[in-house]
Subunit: 433 residues, 2 copies
């Protein structure tokens, strides 16, 4: 189909949603995908490109000239356009920008490129509907019609004073139901949520979720209205945050997808595995220090994987709860309270598990002392692991380090080593070797 019949192809794609076409293109090879992109209109292809996977998009953009890319950008909202340019190599960025025809659009994109990707400025779009507080409803409706042409979706109408400082917002409903001569200053709602352009993306997401907002205006330190952020961008932020935390917990250190290359996967996974390896070597060295126990109490050595694994599991459970509470910012009470609660919980769970383990080991080897040593160690290890798992993410958070890092192999590995050290120390005391 692909080789010749352009018209049939165009007809075929005409009625498809751009998100669906993007999926089809991702499955085609590069030449075919580029061919289709060049064939279609730039108002459609720009949307298709935005829906595509970053890596696939990058490859296609490499096959397009700066002029062709600039044409795509002309069709995009400023926030999407800035995101797309930011992915290009430095030297191409300038060339592409100079090829953008619409001067205002160009200036807007250049402004957005200045902001950090993970800040409110990096998320916002310049497209918005704003009215001045000295207009009346009629003028307002007229101007809005003109402005709305450039805005994909009208969420809110922002009211500014003559210095472009945010004063409030207008509801579409009020606008529809008020007489046309009423001055805006009488109908606008002065209470409006906003974020600062330098706020972090996570903070913006939190505010918008908390107040159920679908769009929020962005201002600078002097309340000048700079842009607005819409909920669909926030959905992406939330998804990415969650994905990142999940991967961190699974011991994957970079954002990767199943379809990335072998080397990307290897690079993302190896660091944590190295950590695990050093942890294991550390545990082995500790056991080497207790080697003299092996002749009389070989059974102790059979339970090291159990002690290590349980220490890891309990630590991860404890830290995951804390990390999630921090992420949802619904953590209350002092660190001391948290630690006490975790301590009580570890007492309960530890007691239950230790009794079971004691029954098993006693039934197996009929040695009271070793059975006691093993089960008491498990009890102590569960308590220590729970406290470490609670304390580390809280501590990291206080130090302004992302606590999610604490849930993965980091906790598992350190608890492994602590656990085994505690285990053999208790055994040595009890068995008196």
């Amino acid at each position: 189909i692909l080789n010749q019949d352009d018209e049939a192809l165009l007809k075929l794609l005409e009625n498809e949603h751009h998100a669906d076409i993007a999926e089809v293109l991702e499955d085609l090879n590069l030449e075919e995908a580029t061919y289709i992109i060049k064939l279609l209109d730039s108002d459609l292809t720009s949307e298709i490109l935005m829906e595509m996977d970053e890596d696939d998009r990058e490859k296609i953009l490499q096959n397009l000239s700066e002029k062709e890319i600039a044409k795509e950008l002309d069709e995009l909202d400023t926030d999407d356009a800035a995101d797309m340019i930011a992915e290009l190599p430095e030297d191409r960025q300038q060339k592409v920008i100079s090829n953008i025809e619409d001067k205002e659009h160009k200036a807007d994109i250049q402004e957005l490129l200045k902001y950090d990707e993970n800040s409110a400025g990096g998320l916002m779009a310049k497209e918005l509907v704003k009215v001045y507080d000295n207009w009346n409803v009629l003028k307002c409706v007229r101007e809005m019609r003109a402005q709305a042409e450039f805005v994909t979706r009208v969420h809110s109408i922002y009211v500014v004073n003559e210095n472009n400082q945010l004063e409030g917002r207008l509801s579409l409903k009020d606008l529809l139901t008020t007489s046309t001569k009423t001055p805006i200053s009488e109908v606008y709602i002065p209470k409006v949520d906003y974020v600062n352009v330098h706020d972090s993306a996570e903070d913006v997401a939190r505010v918008m979720q908390k107040y159920d907002l679908e769009a929020i205006p962005v201002v600078d330190d002097n309340m000048h209205l700079l842009g607005r952020i819409t909920i669909d961008d926030i959905v992406d932020v939330i998804k990415e945050e969650a994905d990142k935390d999940y991967q961190m917990a699974a011991g994957i250190s970079q954002d990767i997808e199943a379809d990335d290359t072998l080397w990307q996967h290897s690079r993302a996974r190896l660091p944590w595995l190295f950590l695990g390896l050093f942890g294991g070597v550390g545990a082995a060295a500790i056991m080497g220090g207790f080697e003299e126990m092996i002749n009389k109490h070989a059974v102790l050595f059979f339970f090291t994987p159990l002690i290590g694994a349980m220490a890891g599991n309990v630590g991860v459970q404890a830290s995951a709860i804390i990390v999630q509470s921090i992420a949802n910012s619904d953590l209350k009470g002092s660190i001391a309270n948290r630690l006490f609660k975790e301590f009580s919980l570890a007492m309960v769970n530890g007691l239950a598990l230790s009794i079971i383990l004691f029954s098993f080991t006693w039934f197996w080897k009929k040695e009271i002392l070793t059975s006691l040593a093993i089960s008491i160690s498990l009890f102590v290890v569960i308590i220590v692991a729970g406290i470490i798992g609670t304390f580390i993410p809280l501590f990291l958070h206080k130090q302004k380090i992302d606590p999610a890092i604490a849930t993965g192999p980091f906790i598992t590995t350190s608890n492994d080593i602590f656990g085994i050290l505690i285990y053999f120390s208790i055994a040595k005391m009890l068995l008196g070797i």
Copy 2:
């Protein structure tokens, strides 16, 4: 402040957002919170209650009469009202419903209660703006003003035929810019995304994310328009999904929060810990079977935690990638391809890690054969763990079981046992005991 001065209190809260008041109430004790709820207007308190944590809300509702609850429900959108009723005990539900004054509202809520919580029906609200295809623009605008009173936010205007079957949608923009006599049938957009009332919440979230929708209409099997779902409900679904997967990966089997009771925490964490305990006991039993090796090659036993931990880490890394790809539905290629890729990756990572481990063990004990046994085992274990970690979630997904269950202690534990079995088998072969 709380004891007497009602007026001052009302003034204080008057200008606060209901989400902020909800936070304050959660920090107060139950009596104080109930007092404030009874003091405030029901249009405000209904919003406050919806923002509160489920457990806190439940306690306050216990202190309110059926009539008072019905009053709150009268103020809420149908979807929120249905959610709140669903949390009450069975016998109170009927009493509360019979106390709702607005008959239409009552019927809507009763309809919504029939649908499964995790389906499109469970998410949707009955509030929407709809117009008939035989109206003209003028009639449409008039009717819309009337309908819009009951709808918090107008996202889309849906067009239906005389049988209430979904035909398309109207854009506000088009409505504002078209002459008032144009019939709706000439201006509406016949292409409209929709979901079936029985679709799962996850599917709805996926569709809305893919097509960047802010609201989607819900229809039954015969295309009758039943309700609509808005993006803010979907944000909650996405958050909950992500939280659930994260907790699953951390070995927490129920949705809990840091502030839940000790027993809730214990119940959520113990099941996976039991599993870990049995895994550890299994590993100990396997080692018991190789006890004769302990005299000559004690060092082998020092590395069991390392082998177990690495098997667990690699397995979790592999399964997390698969689970995440399935959740984002961007997994391509056959199972065989996936397994081959994971196999190659495990070869690369396994080789790197084994060489390091070999150097270390040789340097420590200067025994070529045991060093070889340990490092070759690590290599094999990494490959097997990677393949198990890839296969299990893919298999579960084919069996329509949530693959997220595979990332947690389940993979860790089974890989622990496999790993140690492989380790000692290889050692036995190499060292010929």
